[in-house]
Structure formats: structure tokens, C-alpha cells
Symmetry: C2
């Protein structure tokens, strides 16, 4: 693990690091905030998975998580959203596929399968690094995310309820297998056989029996992607049928931006801290 930068913030430390990823076939960057209390004790870890076009930096710059994470004693880890580098195949004019749009899965189709393996990177590689280099209590992990990253958070939690003790999302893509902006990506990464898509779709995972105790979801009513891309009511239906707890808050007048995320970040971190002990 290489240190790219570290700066004192809210008594703790906001760092940016890189690692050579076997899964992604190249260097990957990620951000970690550790609170001051991590000098004395192991702290719970909350993962923040970002949305389309983002790197680790967007939420680090605009998410406003540090004050509350410092207060609650949480380590916050912010991975990138795709493999990076000139050697990585891409569709440069398509913001919904390729770089910045890894969709938190391991691609199975060439040429994407060589590098686009964000699920392994985030679920295997980064936890090993975080456990080795920070005062992280890996028995107390939560996961949250925004938009495409909300999809990542929900599906990771549903697939690994033993690992993640808490899950929340801002404006998540709850059913990527049917949304216009994600269907083409799933097809290119995973192939035309839609049965392979089901484990990367929160609503279909629930339909197939995956369970998680409860979710917190915030969704802005002025979000331009609400009706075509996000559709939180599909998650609501799935959770109701499966008896999964869902706190869905429709936030009047908020859009899809970090102004929305930062407004409700404190609530989400408190939600995680309460469940992570």
C-alpha cells in the first residue's frame, strides 16, 4: 500500500492510498478516514461506494462525512468505481459503462473480464489492506453508497449479511437489470444470459431468497433519475414481500447531487454506528 496523501482532519486523518490490484490488473486508488480514537482502539468500518463517473475523491471532497465519523469513531473507506489506466479497455464517450462505471461486479465477458473485477477488489483485496494497515474492527463493518454505489451497497449487504452489520443508500439503483442506464452495462459485463445478472440486482436477490435485517434509503424527490433509473418503490415492494425492514425517506426537493448526500450523511453515519456498536 502506497501513501498518496495524508492530512489531519477533524482530529483524525484523511488519507489517499494506492495498491497494485491483482483483480483489476493495475494500480487502484482509495481513500480512508480514520478518527482520532483509532489511535487507541479498533474502530468499526463503513464502506462508501460511489456512483457513476466518480472516483474515490468525489465523496471525500463533497460528502462531508468526517465531522460525524470522528465523533462516532468510524473508519470510512471510499474505493474507486472501476479499474483505471491506459491499458484498461473503455468506452470513453459512455459515462454509463467502462471507466467510472464498474457496477460493483466481476465481469465475465471479454475484453472486460480481465480488469473489471470490482467485486473482488472491494470484497477481498481492500478489506485485507484495511485490516493490515488501520485499526479496523473487521467484525463490525457497514456499507453505504450512492446511485450505482447504492446498488453496490444493497447487493453486497444482501450477499454478505454475515460480514455487513448495517447498510444504507442514497438514491440507489435498486433494479439495475431493468433500468435503461444499467441494462446495457450488465449485458456487456456479464453476457446476454440474464440469469447471471440476478446476483447483481437487489430486488432479484431478495426474490431469490437473499435477506438482510434492514435498510435505510434516502431519495430526493427532485432527482432527475428517480422515475427511469432509481425507482425505490421496487425495493419497497421487494422488502415488503420478504419482510425486510426498509426505512425509505422521500426527501422533498432534493436532487441527485452531493448537496443531497451531504445533507443526510450525518443520519446515515448515526444509523451505521448504532448497528455497529
Amino acid at each position: 500500500m502506497k501513501i498518496i496523501s495524508e492530512a489531519k482532519s477533524h482530529g483524525g486523518c484523511q488519507g489517499v492510498y494506492s495498491t497494485t490490484s491483482e483483480a483489476c490488473g493495475g494500480d487502484m486508488t482509495f481513500a480512508v478516514f480514520r478518527p482520532i480514537v483509532a489511535k487507541e482502539q479498533l474502530c468499526p468500518v463503513v464502506w462508501f461506494l460511489s456512483g457513476l463517473t466518480c472516483t474515490h475523491a468525489n465523496v471525500m471532497d463533497k460528502g462531508e462525512y468526517r465531522r460525524m465519523a470522528a465523533e462516532l469513531g468510524l473508519i470510512i473507506v471510499c474505493p474507486d468505481t472501476s479499474p483505471r489506466g491506459d491499458h484498461v479497455p473503455d468506452e470513453p464517450d459512455n459515462w454509463q459503462f467502462g471507466k467510472g462505471a464498474g457496477f460493483y461486479l466481476d465481469a465475465t465477458q471479454a475484453p472486460w473480464s480481465r480488469h473489471y473485477r470490482m467485486e473482488t477488489h472491494i470484497l477481498d483485496e481492500l478489506p485485507a489492506l484495511v485490516a493490515a494497515h488501520f485499526a479496523a474492527d473487521m467484525g463490525r463493518q457497514g456499507v453505504m453508497g450512492h446511485s450505482m454505489g447504492g446498488h453496490g451497497a444493497l447487493t453486497f449487504a444482501l450477499k454478505h449479511p454475515d460480514r455487513f452489520k448495517s447498510c444504507s443508500a442514497f438514491a440507489p439503483i435498486v433494479q439495475p437489470s431493468t433500468a435503461d442506464w444499467s441494462r446495457p452495462a450488465l449485458e456487456k459485463y456479464l453476457g446476454a444470459d440474464e440469469s447471471g445478472w440476478r446476483r447483481h440486482d437487489a430486488t432479484l436477490l431478495i426474490e431469490d431468497g437473499a435477506r438482510f435485517p434492514e435498510f435505510l434509503v434516502d431519495q430526493g424527490t427532485a432527482d432527475g433519475f428517480l422515475d427511469a433509473g432509481l425507482r425505490p418503490w421496487l425495493l419497497e415492494e421487494a422488502c415488503q414481500k420478504a419482510d425486510i425492514g426498509l426505512t425509505l425517506r422521500m426527501q422533498e426537493g432534493y436532487d441527485h447531487s452531493y448537496h443531497f448526500i451531504s445533507t443526510f450523511m450525518d443520519d446515515h453515519l448515526a444509523w451505521h454506528a448504532e448497528r455497529l456498536g
Copy 2:
């Protein structure tokens, strides 16, 4: 005034606007946050003046002022740091002069004097716009800033103690007329006669009799510009001699970045709110 963007944030609204500036001879962009309470009553206004290389966007993205400004009912205005546009003369390879480095003065020397008139832009043009378009109580204004913008805040407050009721700074350039990174700019903007520089130097303004009730200054001890560029002890000496109140807090381990600013932003906003009533 043209609306570039508006987004709901912390119950209020973060906007970005532009105006055709007579002083700067072109379009100028600025950001305004208005708290929800501004729908019902006039609110005090706090100006945030940014540092070298910044636009209005840096503090808007990374300053983390909205949560507390919403709570305290403050309007926050964030101007740009220089004139902009292809028609504006510049030294593109020099980050300490020209675009992004207006130093909050009106240049007197050609070719800079045509556009580099940030003092008039911020003290005359923008207040008229803010008063006309927002629920701003212009009788209750405070000013704060970072680095070059700390210099701007201190000098504006000292020159206009009737207008500004509160002033604070993060890592301000307290004596730009002798600091390596600002002397060349003052010479190019104002000419070789240093007597004309005195009204753009907080310590020399105080020496010449300018007064302000009290300042709050935070300065990181790990700030790489501390010894050569910032030197808060010079302000401390000047304030002591002139019997001006100064709360100077040396913040252990903090650098010059927005990680430092955002950590102490709440304190500064509370300082202003207390004095603005």
C-alpha cells in the same frame, strides 16, 4: 444576475450565479448559500474570500459550511478570486499572480488595471446584487477568508469596520508586502511605490491607525507556508501594539488545505453568528 445552478442543501439552497461585472470587465461567477430561514426573515451575510488558485467552487465543494450556516441562519457568499476570461491578461505559469490571484485589490498599473479590480467587485458590485436578490440584512455582515482570502478578510474589515461586524481568517497572509509569494504581485498590480501597498496589508493598516474590534485566526502548525508566507505572529504583534483583540489559535498538525478549513469552519461560523446577532 444569471442563475447557473441551484440545489437544495441542508434545508436551504446552494446557488451559483454570474453577473456582468463593470469593475472586472467581464462575467464573474459567485456562490451563495441561503438557509431555509431566509424564506421568512432577513439573515446576516458572511463573505468567504478564497485563497490563491481558487474559484468560488473550492470552498463551496470542500468548506463544509452549509450544515452550520443553516443552523445559525447565515447567508454565505463566496466570490471568485480574480477576473476571468480569455480577454483578461494573465501569467498562466504563475499561480501567485494574475488569474486566481487577484489579492482583493484594485490594480493601478497597466495592463492589470483594466480587469483586476476585485476590491470594487466584492465591496460594491456583489453587495448590491446580494441585497437585491436575497433576504440579506446588509446591516449585519461578516467577512472571513483563507490564505490570500484571509488577507482580503482582514484588510476589508480594517478598512470598513462600519460595514463588517465580524472578521475571521484561516491561515491568512498577514503581511503581503514583505512575503515572498505576494510582494511581486503587489508590485505588478500597484507599482513600485510601496506607500500605495500599505492599505492592502493588514499589519501596515493597523500601524497606520486602522482598527477593528477583534479577530479570530486559526493557523495549522504543519502548514508548509507558515514561516515564509503567513507568519501570524506579525499580526499578533500589530494587534498587541494597537490593543486589537486577537484570538490566534495554533492548530497542532493541521496543514494549509480544506481539511484544515472544514475542521474549524463550525467555530468560525459560530464566532460570526455571535457577533452578527
